[in-house]
Symmetry: C2
Amino acid sequence: MVTSTTVQTRSLSNTPVNNEAAPAAALAHHEKRGGLKVIDDILARRAKAGKLVAGIAAASNSDMFKGSTDDMPSAKRWDDHLTRESRARGPCTLKQAAKHLKQPGIISLGGGLPSSQVFPFASLSMTVPTVPNFHEADTLTSGQTLSIGKYDVRDEVADYDLSIALNYGQSTGSAQMMRFLTEHTEIICQPPYKDWGVCQTVGSTGALEQALRMFCDKDRNDSVLTEDFSFSTALETIHPLGVHVFGAAIDDQGLLPEAMDEMLTKWDASARDGARKPHVLYTVPSGQNPTGATQSAERRRAVYAVAQKHDLFIIEDEPYYFLQMKTYPPEAQAAVAPSPPESVQDFVESLLPTLVSLDTDGRVLRMDSFSKVLVPGSRLGWIVASAQIVERFQRHAEVANQGPNGFSQVILHKLLDETWGHEGYLKWLMNLRLEYTAKRNTLLAACEEHLPRDLVRWTPPVAGMFHPDAGKRDLKAIEEEIFDSCIQNGVLIARGSWFQAEKEKPLSGLHFRATYASASAESMSEATSRFAAAVRKSFRKA
Amino acid sequence: MVTSTTVQTRSLSNTPVNNEAAPAAALAHHEKRGGLKVIDDILARRAKAGKLVAGIAAASNSDMFKGSTDDMPSAKRWDDHLTRESRARGPCTLKQAAKHLKQPGIISLGGGLPSSQVFPFASLSMTVPTVPNFHEADTLTSGQTLSIGKYDVRDEVADYDLSIALNYGQSTGSAQMMRFLTEHTEIICQPPYKDWGVCQTVGSTGALEQALRMFCDKDRNDSVLTEDFSFSTALETIHPLGVHVFGAAIDDQGLLPEAMDEMLTKWDASARDGARKPHVLYTVPSGQNPTGATQSAERRRAVYAVAQKHDLFIIEDEPYYFLQMKTYPPEAQAAVAPSPPESVQDFVESLLPTLVSLDTDGRVLRMDSFSKVLVPGSRLGWIVASAQIVERFQRHAEVANQGPNGFSQVILHKLLDETWGHEGYLKWLMNLRLEYTAKRNTLLAACEEHLPRDLVRWTPPVAGMFHPDAGKRDLKAIEEEIFDSCIQNGVLIARGSWFQAEKEKPLSGLHFRATYASASAESMSEATSRFAAAVRKSFRKA
């Protein structure tokens, strides 16, 4: 038995952003997206539309804010993919009644909306960075203080205020953030069909559970296809629903389309515990968790083609999309400092196409959130999908959570929409990518300094060594021994088995996932050396 | 066919708070709770415990913060009430790994927690009322500005800060708010068993769906018992799960225990579409939605006894608990101004016992939230239940939403825990009750002024009249006609049929729900007169 001990960095990819693979197609895509040009169009459109009027619990959708998509085809219908539960959902009666509030002069004795008068917050303010001085230390010297009043809309100083944000809202989130996120989706994704839309969420964790309940029905023996090693929380979300999970083989660019195709073509339910051939794919295309693999543009197209061939609906989970990095240079020590900033236009053009950008059928539900790029505590995310899918998602959100909270919406709207604007936010994302690139480089430099090269490899991610107990002891026991030894040595690292899609299969190798997201530069060297000691001990090379 | 046209005020009860019904028992209960005395105990306990140390994603539970319950019996086990889905849940691996972070000096390369360094919020501040000057206008003159820094914990100026609140957390919510809510539950509820606990939620809407998925399994033909007219959103949450709902008869104090008992004793699944005898009761004991009925202390005890007899697990939804009001005086016009303030001690003693306060078995899951008493946009609530139920709830929350957002938690903690304190918060609730009492009185005075007494009655809530089309047209059609006419006249009022528990049954009367929660005092008179015109028109008395 081959025992491969692999250290893989995560959160952000350490594999090349391989745009060269499909230059013509990628170029066409980027030309169409345009980045800054789209921002100009959006600003012109806003100026033409005039002031956004959207009061308490105002209904909204992306069609109110997006540019013309009249020349595009409509999404296909996905009714037969939906579960009985999802199809049974009706609209929330009390939220629907709110549509009458648009009638001028109407007085409501209908909905139980508390009076904003009794909210104990007269104003909220915050100190935030000024574009482009994003560093934490800069905020103390050059930062700005933004204020949100209770009645800024009435007082005509803003489009959104506390009296609206802190009251009940629609499960799609506020119209104000709907506008920002619809425009952001235009700048980044430009889905190639007519009736795409956005719905705000309580973060991608909740969005995934909602999506699974829309598409996966244990009474149909439904199953989900995902990467061989997949995000552990996603697996833990699927399992209690009584839905099957199957892992497709991966390489350093994630999902292998040929392996997916072969698996689905030869599907035999009787050999799979009765599981119906998967009709849903769950994938993390950028900085996959736990492997860190990023699908190239070409790979994404190939994965999408397999989904079309086998009628898979795709749940695209993209928390790390904006943290795509350039390849870690081999002359490591010299290159800990990341490359200098580029223009916003270069940044947008450098981004790989999302699956929803390739989605001519409307078969993708893309999940994004502010957790990895602003603050996880906002519990504010959004999906991009066809109007029919957004509508079913919204119906569930009305009873599952009522959409995201108002503090996050009004605070992020003040920061992103009113203050930084789309261009400023893209600059923030560019800067964040540089900060994480520096952290990644520091961790990889620490690996080069401390890890025993005869036992561990970390880039390229797949490499191997014989453990002295290989074949004698269960690999999970060895993995556990190394993990426990790490804890004793004072370093926490994630075990590969946590992420295995099919838990009943034997482990194929020893994997550990290290992240550079939270540790400081100084502590990464120490942590890596502690991990190295635990590995050496297990391999009896201490 | 008798067509009763009833206007019922909601959100807050307009039925008497009937403590006289069971004076000895209620007194014993209140003596035990003690209000201010419990606050003294809590303050002493905090002083003894010293500084609360709880960093990023720190695990917590109520046992860390509550007083001794050693002399009490443990909750019964409810395993056989749980669904297969709920029983299948394991802990979230990555959240569990956070327990190792308690080890001094440990460096994490494990969890994907972003570094708080890259959060763009250096500080947050807010203007709020100073106790007891809670009126909106007072905040502008005598309000105070509270500030929350990013590193207040490191800088030893507070127990909670942005670096913790805005990062990932546990699905139970932060330890800091867990402490406040556990103590608040001690002051108000004092559940009479040992192992009760609190878990924060994303609001009672989400908490209800989580609770239903824990207890109601369509594969078992499960069913839920509730009031004949029940909260429409709750019904809309239950229905798509394939779970049956049955309505028990109600009077002006809500659920009729005798009717519940008879219904359950004579249960015949074959006559009920195969539905298993209900093992779950969903009830809103205070200010029931839509009827406004409030169960007296005696009624609550009787409902609980029926639940014990028939082994019902109770989901207690109490958004309006603190808005219990005194009876509307018959000499209406003179009494629009509500009674003068009372002491905090009087206030706590005047509150009816919650079902969880009577819950010797641990069979109640109580849902509460800040939506009706602070701001709905916080999307922050909590449940009170036995440790075993909290644990299953928490397992689902880890994948359903990750618990409430950090902005709400840190903002409400600053206001409620660090600034107002428990006593100040109770004063806020006292004042809020007065404000809503004044609004209720205004609406009822408007009813007396404008509504045609020969067609409509509103207090007591059940009264009747023959509609000219009674027996000729479907009642829902007449209800719709009046509703549409109201909209035309410029008033939105909720239709009774929206709240009917068993939708397939014919309507037994014409009901409309009017709420005084959001309309201003001036507009209520106009709105009531518009409703009166719509009723007159339908009854051909215009």
